[in-house]
C-alpha cells in the first residue's frame, strides 16, 4: 500500500511534460482562436449594445423635441387665439363706439332738424294765425287797414302770442 502514496518521479516527469505540451499546443491551436473569436463577438455585442443605446438616446431626443415642438405650438396656438380674441374684442368695442357715436350724432342731427322744423312750423303757424287774424279783423272792420298800422298791430299781436306761448 506504500506505493499508493509514494510519488513516482518518472510519472511526475511524464505528467509535467504532457501537461506543459498540452498547454503549449492548446494555446496555439485552441485557446488562441477560441478566445479571439469570443473577444470579437464580445466587441461586436458591445458595439451593437452601444449602437442600440445610441439609437435609444436618439429616439428619446426626437421624442423630447416633438414634445417640445407640440408644447410650443400649443402655446403659439393659444397666443394666436388670445390675440384674435383680444383683437375681436377691441374691434367689437371700436364698432360699438362708432355705432354709438353715429347714433348719437344722428340723434343730435335729428333733434336739431326737429327743432328747426318745429320753429319753422311755429313761425308758419304764427304767420298763418296772423293772416287769419288780420283777415278776420278785416272782415270784422270791413275795411282795409294801413299796411304800417297792420304791421304794428301784427307785431304787437305776435308779441302777445309769443308771450302767450311762453306762458304756456
Amino acid at each position: 500500500m506504500d506505493k499508493l502514496v509514494s510519488p513516482d518521479p518518472g510519472l511526475m516527469f511524464w505528467t509535467i511534460v504532457t501537461f506543459l505540451a498540452l498547454v503549449a499546443v492548446l494555446k496555439r491551436f485552441v485557446w488562441g482562436p477560441l478566445l479571439t473569436a469570443l473577444e470579437e463577438r464580445e466587441v461586436h455585442l458591445k458595439a451593437q449594445a452601444a449602437r442600440a443605446a445610441e439609437a435609444r438616446e436618439e429616439a428619446e431626443r426626437i421624442k423630447n423635441e416633438v414634445a417640445a415642438y407640440l408644447a410650443a405650438s400649443q402655446t403659439q396656438r393659444q397666443e394666436v387665439l388670445d390675440r384674435a380674441a383680444r383683437e375681436g374684442e377691441a374691434l367689437l368695442a371700436q364698432f360699438r363706439a362708432a355705432a354709438e357715436d353715429e347714433t348719437r350724432k344722428l340723434r343730435e342731427k335729428t333733434s336739431a332738424e326737429l327743432g328747426r322744423e318745429k320753429e319753422r312750423l311755429v313761425g308758419e303757424l304764427r304767420r298763418e294765425v296772423a293772416d287769419l287774424s288780420v283777415l278776420a279783423a278785416e272782415r270784422l272792420l270791413r275795411r282795409s287797414v294801413d299796411p304800417a298800422v297792420e304791421k304794428a298791430v301784427l307785431d304787437d299781436f305776435m308779441k302777445d302770442i309769443s308771450k302767450g306761448v311762453r306762458r304756456q
Binding site: 518521479p9 510519472l11 485552441v30
Partner: protein, 261 residues
Amino acid sequence: MNFEEVLAHHLLDHAYFALFTTGGFTLAVSKHSVTLWAVAGLLLLGLLAAARGRSGAARLWRTAVEAIVLYIRNAIVRPIFGHDADAFLPYFLTLFFFILACNLWGLLPGSAAVTGNVSVTAALALSTFVLIHFAGIRKFGLAAHFKQLVPGGLPWIWWLSPLLVPLLYVIEIIGLCAKCVALCIRLFANIFSGHIVSLAFLCMIFVFAQFGKGVALGGVAPVAVGLALFVYSLDLLVAVIQAYIFTLLTAVFVGMAVHPH
C-alpha cells in the same frame, strides 16, 4: 485476491517497459503515462473540434466549451489577475480541462484514474509551485519576489526582528509548500477515495459470496451495486468540483504572487 490486491490492481500504476534508469529515477512507459497521453490526445481532438469544427454538433460542443471558458475567464482568472489575465488564461483553461478530462476518464469502467495517482497530482501541484514563482519573478524580479514572501510593514524591534524576520521567511516558505502539497493531496484523495469506496462496495459481494452465492447475489449484490452507483454519481460531481477547486486555488496562489498586496 484480497482487497488490497484489488486496490493495487485498479489504482496503482503498472510499468509496461522502462525507457532508461539512472540512480533512483526510472522513466518508464506505464499504464498511467499512456492514459495521460490518451486523455491529452482526446482532449486536444475534442477541443480542436470545438474551436475549428463547422458542423452542427461541433457548434453545440463549442457552445458548451465556450460556457466553461467564459466562466473560468470571468469568474476566476480576470478577477484575480486583472490586466494580466490574458497571459495566464491558457494555462488555467488547460489545467481545468485536463484535470476534468482525467477525472472523468477515470470514471469509465476499466480505465485508469490518473488523478487518483499521487504522482500525477504532485506533478500538477509542482507545476503550480513553479508557476507561482515564475509569475512573481517575471513581474517583480528575483529579489523583489522573494522579499515579498514576507508581508511588508512589520514593526522593527532591534532585539526581536533579526530573529523574527528569518523565521517568518521560513514559515512563509513552508506555508507556500503546504499550499501546493494540500493541492496535490486534495485532488488525489478525492479521486482515490471515490474509487476505493466504489471498489469496497463491490468487493462486499465477493466477501459475502464466502457465505454462499445466494446471499451474495440475492441480498448483498443489489445493495452493493446501488451504493456503488450512488458513489459513482457523487464521483461525477467530485470530478467537476475538484477540477474547479484545483484551478481556482492555483489561480489564487499565483495571483497572490503577482498581486502581493
